[in-house]
Symmetry: C2
Subunit: 150 residues, 2 copies
Amino acid sequence: MASSTHPCAPCAACKFLRRKCIQGCVFSPYFPPEDPTKFANVHKIFGASNVSKLLNEIAPHQREDAVNSLAYEAEARLKDPVYGCVGAISVLQRQVLRLQKELDATNADLIRFSSHQNILTPSSQSSGSSVQNAHVLPPNYGSYSWNYNA
Amino acid sequence: MASSTHPCAPCAACKFLRRKCIQGCVFSPYFPPEDPTKFANVHKIFGASNVSKLLNEIAPHQREDAVNSLAYEAEARLKDPVYGCVGAISVLQRQVLRLQKELDATNADLIRFSSHQNILTPSSQSSGSSVQNAHVLPPNYGSYSWNYNA
């Protein structure tokens, strides 16, 4: 059965790859023709074939999020070829550790003050309880977990 | 000029790609034969050709970091095909915002206590000054910046 071409303009992926944009093109909903850079970036970093395979393995309602996260990663890798978006993870991890340390110190000060005064305000109580939930670092990807000390 | 094969065992990349591992193989220093999964993951997500191109564009002393960050991203994408390591960025961003909010509330409490007592301890002063530096979120990658509200 011959596939019919797409009724509208070809998507950015098919235009880039110089091929017909057929009905049901897996790229078409996520790579509109007016944003050619989005596909060019994703293609340069991941390759069209890998992206197509990935999309076909994902439920349709999650494909937009998948494409956007791939576009984010691709743009990050083009801006920073060495660290890509792992650089942002590293910045954020250090920021979380620094904030946690500051919060612990500030809570210790508050506890010291309140033990002198025997007063605990509602906001200091809420800060204290959520400190215990703050050590939720992102998943550790086995032996390739990121330890970036720059 | 014929390239000579690598004197040791072929690297994981050449073994995976079933080709000779020649002297000066761009993959060899970063994909040792005893860790075949590292290359398999990177190959599945980025493709050997893209990784090879990327490595050739990067200074030799930065290639190890580049390969490790690619391996981290690849493993994250295999574990979470929809969000990949952008999921970790999202978790960390929310964590930074929550900690910052808690720290602001705790500092406000401390300021209230200290204005009653007219006392500022060294640790509360240091917490207060660094609050102003805490809003350093990772770079915003243009239109593909990540807004994940799950």
